[in-house]
Amino acid sequence: MTDGCGAPEQTAVVTGEDTGDQVVVAGKVTGGEGALGGAYVRLLNADGEFAGEVQASPEGDFRFYAAPGEWKVRALHRSGNGEATVDAAGPGLHQVTIAVA
């Protein structure tokens, strides 16, 4: 198992990726000129309660290993904030894009 608690390096989704029995919420943060790197992405449940946070990769990628459910992902960046919702009902890859403005 991972011996630390910090987020691992954020990597892009691979087409056809097998997530096994894990519920993966993953995607990209975008800004005015395409992918936006370095935003802080927060995973919030349907009640707005915080569940996790990662810093997106330089290419804007982020991923969470969540429990099944409806999730909101919210990105914070010095250039602005943005959010999106995703329904991650069960194991598999649930992709979402967050536009920051």
């Binding site: 198992m1 630390g4 910090g6 390096e9 802080y40 915080f50 810093q55 290993y65 429990a67 960046h77």
Partner: protein
Amino acid sequence: MSREDVLVTTQWAEENLNTPGVVFAEVDEDTTAYEGGHIPGAVRIDWKTELQDQVRRDFVDKAGFEKLLSAKGISNDDLVILYGGNNNWFAAYAYWYFKLYGHDKVKLLDGGRKKWELDGRDLVKEVPDRPATDYKASDQDLSLRAFRDEVVDAISTKNLVDVRSPDEFSGKLLAPAHLPQESAQRAGHIPSALNVPWAQTANEDGTFKTADELKELYEEAGLDTSKATIAYCRIGERSSHTWFALHELMGLKDVKNYDGSWTEYGSLVGVPVETGSNGGK
């Protein structure tokens, strides 16, 4: 103790980057963050390789801490400003660790690296060259640190605050949601523990909530402030963040961090474990 005694703002930090006797230190588990850019003049402390014993699951000993701080160019009289990623989890762990070894002139940068970045402040790659010192540490102040037997004895007698996310607390997840869910230990929490996730003590930008807001939060959660409190998480760094909120910002006297946390407790044979979301309420 006031907020200013234990925290500095990013504005204060920027104005004091070159103040003699003030040393900035970035503490992270992922040290590539520092390499990619850090607060000008800040030294790096690697949570994993420098603050943990590399053989036993424990801290570096007193001599090891003295050697580490001496090599970093930190002296006993320096005011150390700690900051890091992950909403200051590892910096809060280091803060608690500095206090444990008797270094009182230490503060956290409120909001940590996240706030600094969101403010759009400068980060540099240049690594400072600080001359070595002859740092002297005190013996560990164990009034700040809880061990497993004390935690088992605390069930239903002291406050136990589980600061992990609700899904980790209830047993749905074994680790925070940004990590793969692979683990050998049992899921759940220590019976009678309250679940007050660390994130509820912080604002979105990573700064700590005010002492009044924290008091309201823990009162609502059912914390009995007349009793001693032990905070835990999975490996003890998120609970350092909560230890900071309870002990340093709210001023509660008897608060310990259980750094063995769920990684230890959830692997013990014969101890009670509870699942579900009710906790000590």
